[in-house]
Structures are given as structure tokens and as C-alpha cells.
């Protein structure tokens, strides 16, 4: 008979976690992280995480608050550079190119690896200018007609064009929450990124707006590599092909979403996705 409580067994399982359960690599990765540690000052937030992100795939990162999933996501386009105390060690690459190498301009990196945040954050500009902002600063259009094309096609890809085509001059902030989030996705797409990072993109949206964003994520997968951090297990199960479970800064388990949600191999993953103590 097992006399040990599940909680202490889970704690032992975490202490004994030497390496991630499951296969962290993919064939032909778009992005790669190897043995990544992240520190905020003295405090270590991420321990020895290795993980690949594949093209044409959505990878969901799940885990309790403070587990390091957002920190890891933000390392992928060097958003953590803006935090002075943050230090990243290990290797991270995009198409084999070192993300933290001396020759890599973080501004250009963020155009290639775009990000959508938890709260829709349109600029205090018109709908048109929100989407045109990136292409303008990166010089992606040589004339107004080209810029128009980029703006319209980005709004179309984000599934927003039909709803806003007759009011492109209206402020972005006049849109509903779900529309604002799709505007932010259009803004991200406008600079032709290769990877899209999403940090809880639906947590401020109602179920209908959420369903639209999830549908959009599935469509975007055809052309981009997508990594999404979410607190909604159901959302991770619905939108992703692979799932990574983080716990207290360690990557506990990676696997196909089908397997993670029906038969996870690590008991910490099991405890988290089934809502058990642990």
C-alpha cells in the first residue's frame, strides 16, 4: 500500500527531476533552446531548459503561476533585455543563428519573432496606423499603395478586415476587446514574422472572441511557428500540437498534446492538468 501522500510524492518527483520527460527536439527546428538558465538578479527563474519550436506547429506552454513559462517565452525574442537584472545563459537560436550573439539586432529579431500579449495593447492611433506602424519603421513599403496592401492583407489574415474596412481611420482603442487583440495580431503579422509568441492572448476575452482567436491561431499555423503560453488547459488542448509543462522553473515534460492530455508520463504534469494537489 502506498502510504506516502500524493503531495510529498510529487515533491520528491520534482526534486528527483534530472531531465525533461519526453522528446524536446524536433526535426528541422525553427527555434532552439539548449540548457537555458534565466536569473532575475540572484534569483534563478529557469533551470536548464532545452526545447525546440517547430515550423507550422503550435506549442503550448502550461504550468502554474511563477513556473517560468512566460519568462522562457520572453527569452525567445529577447523581451527580457529590457529588465536590467535579467541574465540568460545557455544557447538559443533562430534558424541556427545565436539569438544572443553580438551580431544580432534585437529590434530586427523582434520583427522576425513577434509577440502578442495578454492584454490587447493597441497604440493610441488609428486602426490603419496600428498595423502600418511596424512596416513603416522597418521600411517594408516603398509607397502608400504597398503599405495599404500590407495593412489590408494583415487585417485579413487576422480575420478583422471585414469588420473594420469602412473605419480604418477610427482609433484602435475604439474596437472591442476581441477585435483589439486581433488588431494586435494583425500588427504582429504586418512585419512578416517567422515566429509568433503569444502570452495568454485570450485571458481578457469572452468565449466567442476566444474561439475566434483560437480559430485564427490554427489558420496562422500554416505559415508560422507559434508558441503560446496559456493558463487554460482546455485552450492548450484545443490549439496546440505539442505541449510543454513547466514547474518551478523546470521543464518537466514535453509531448504531443494528445498524449499529455490523455496519458502524461510525469506525475507533476498529471497533477496539474487534473487539478490535484501537488
Amino acid at each position: 500500500m502506498n502510504t506516502k501522500s500524493n503531495t510529498s510524492a510529487a515533491s520528491d518527483a520534482f526534486d528527483n527531476l534530472k531531465e525533461t520527460v519526453g522528446v524536446v527536439t524536433v526535426d528541422d527546428p525553427k527555434m532552439s533552446a539548449r540548457n537555458v538558465d534565466v536569473f532575475y538578479g540572484e534569483k534563478q527563474a529557469i533551470y536548464d531548459v532545452s526545447l525546440d519550436i517547430a515550423n507550422n506547429e503550435v506549442i503550448a506552454m502550461i504550468g502554474p503561476s511563477g513556473c517560468g513559462k512566460s519568462t522562457f517565452l520572453r527569452c525567445l525574442n529577447r523581451m527580457n533585455d529590457s529588465i536590467p537584472t535579467c541574465r540568460v545563459t545557455g544557447e538559443m537560436s533562430l534558424d541556427g543563428e545565436d539569438l544572443y550573439g553580438a551580431g544580432l539586432d534585437p529590434v530586427l529579431l523582434r520583427a522576425r519573432v513577434g509577440m502578442v500579449f495578454q492584454k490587447p495593447n493597441p497604440f493610441a492611433k488609428s486602426i490603419y496606423d496600428n498595423v502600418a506602424y511596424g512596416p513603416r519603421i522597418h521600411g517594408l513599403a516603398s509607397n502608400r499603395a504597398e503599405l495599404d496592401d500590407i495593412v489590408i492583407s494583415s487585417l485579413q489574415k487576422a480575420g478583422l478586415h471585414e469588420e473594420v474596412q469602412d473605419r480604418l481611420d477610427a482609433p484602435g482603442t475604439s474596437l472591442s476587446g476581441g477585435q483589439q487583440q486581433r488588431l494586435c495580431i494583425a500588427r504582429t503579422i504586418a512585419v512578416s514574422p517567422e515566429v509568433i509568441l503569444m502570452d495568454e492572448p485570450c485571458s481578457a476575452l469572452d468565449p466567442i472572441a476566444t474561439a475566434r482567436i483560437e480559430e485564427l491561431i490554427d489558420e496562422l499555423r500554416e505559415n508560422y511557428a507559434i508558441a503560446i503560453v496559456t493558463h487554460s488547459m482546455q485552450q492548450a488542448a484545443r490549439v496546440s500540437q505539442r505541449t510543454a509543462y513547466f514547474h518551478l522553473g523546470k521543464l518537466v515534460e514535453v509531448g504531443s498534446t494528445n498524449n499529455i492530455f490523455t496519458n502524461p508520463r510525469h506525475e507533476l504534469t498529471e497533477n496539474y492538468i487534473t487539478g490535484r494537489f501537488g
Binding site: M233, T262, N263, E270, T274
Partner: protein, 240 residues
């Protein structure tokens, strides 16, 4: 159910729901075992009254299946269970389907027992039917036990016993076929005995299914239609 830690959800209500569903399945299993036992007794003892009682009581098994199904649907809709919780609900839905069909087989035996009782027709095969029936009853009991204790070893060993049941069934079939050729006037009664034997053999098959679901529930692997030797070598604990 200790191994699945069903009582350790943060939601106490969810713990209660899963515990309740598990208890209901075990209660349904108990009722089905009783039905099989009484159906067989009615047949062996030429007890038409008991046979009728078994046939009539099948509605209770059916009602339990519907109730448990409903509870599972509620849990799926409201809790969106994952991992072992999801496997438990799926297993329960499948186990009760097999239990309901075992109930139907018991009902069948009860009805045939009523017909056969008048002519005391089953008595000449009492020994063979009892042997087959005892094998089937113990297999069903052990399959339900394996489910209750989430015992993969017991489930696999129990499932392996279906071969004995099939062998016993075929022996009885041969005897009945020979008898039928020798005395075609008894075709109607011999056919009913054949169907009873068939019902018992089917209960063995349903018990195998229950054992397979136990492996799925505990190990997360669907072993249906997998070579049994492979299942044994992969999942059976090695002696220490």
C-alpha cells in the same frame, strides 16, 4: 483507487463525484454478478420461477447503466476531465456497456431456463454447464475485482483465462452437436442449451473487455487487438 489519487483533487466536489461514480459501477457489477449467478442456478436447477425473476430484474441493470452514463456525461460537460480522470470516465462508460450486455446474457439464460425447466431438459448437461458457468462467474468476479483494485496484473491474468472458457464451450458444443445428430427430435431444447452455453461464453468475452479497460485506465495504453503475449510481456510484473 489509491493509485489514481482520485481523492486528491483541489475540488472536493469533484473527488465526491468520482468516488460516487466508482461506487455505482461496483454496485452495478455486484448486481450483474448476482443476475449471472441466479440465471445459471435457474438453468442448472430447472427453476423456472427463478429464471423468470432473473429475466424480469434485467431492467434494474439497464436503469443503472443509464444513470451512470448520465453522471459521466455531466462530468465530461462540467469538469472537462483530463489524463487519468478522463481515462476513468471513458473506462466507466465502456465497463458499464459490457456489464449491461452481461446482464442481457443473464436475462437470456433466465428466459431459456423457464422454457427448459418444464421438460427438465438441461439436467443431462448439468455437469458441463456448471463447469463452464463456474469458470465464467469466477472470471467476471476477478475482472470486477481488478477494476475495483486497479490491478493490472490481476486484469491480465484474468483475461488469459478466457481460453479455458472457450475450450470448455467448444467441448460442450461438440457434445450438443453429437446429441443433435443422434436425436433430432430434441432440436428445440438442445438449441436453447446451446444458446445458454453461448451466453456464458459471451460473458467471458465481456469480462476480457473489462480487464482490457483496467489496463487502459491504469497504464494509458489501449491493448485491444494487441497480441496477448506482447501484452503479458509488456505489462505483467516480473517476479522479484
Amino acid at each position: 483507487m489509491d493509485k489514481l489519487h482520485l481523492d486528491q483533487h483541489i475540488s472536493q466536489q469533484f473527488n465526491h463525484e468520482l468516488e460516487d461514480i466508482r461506487n455505482r459501477v461496483l454496485a452495478m457489477g455486484g448486481l450483474v454478478e448476482q443476475q449471472v449467478d441466479q440465471g445459471l442456478t435457474a438453468l442448472l436447477e430447472s427453476d423456472g420461477e427463478l429464471g423468470q425473476q432473473v429475466a424480469t430484474a434485467d431492467f434494474e441493470v439497464n436503469a443503472m447503466e443509464v444513470e451512470i452514463d448520465e453522471e459521466c456525461i455531466q462530468i465530461l460537460a462540467r469538469r472537462q476531465p483530463a489524463a487519468s480522470d478522463l481515462r476513468l470516465i471513458v473506462t466507466v462508460i465502456k465497463v458499464i456497456t459490457d456489464l449491461e450486455r452481461i446482464g442481457d446474457e443473464a436475462e437470456k439464460m433466465g428466459r431459456f431456463a423457464v422454457d427448459l425447466a418444464e421438460a427438465n431438459a438441461a439436467t443431462s448437461y448439468r455437469k458441463e454447464l456448471r463447469r463452464l458457468g463456474d469458470l465464467v462467474k469466477s472470471m467476471l468476479r476477478d475482472a470486477l475485482d481488478a477494476f475495483a483494485r486497479l490491478d493490472v496484473d490481476a486484469a491480465i491474468k484474468t483475461a488469459a483465462r478466457d481460453e479455458d472458457i472457450n475450450a470448455e464451450y467448444q467441448t460442450l458444443q461438440r457434445l450438443l452437436a453429437t446429441h443433435l445428430m443422434e436425436d433430432p427430435r430434441q432440436v428445440s431444447q438442445l438449441l436453447k442449451i446451446t444458446w445458454c452455453a453461448r451466453a456464458l461464453e459471451r460473458i467471458g468475452d465481456h469480462s476480457v473487455n473489462i480487464c482490457e479497460y483496467v489496463v487502459y485506465l491504469v497504464k494509458g495504453r489501449d491493448i485491444r487487438h494487441i497480441n496477448f503475449d506482447q501484452v503479458q510481456s509488456e505489462f505483467l510484473s516480473k517476479p522479484t
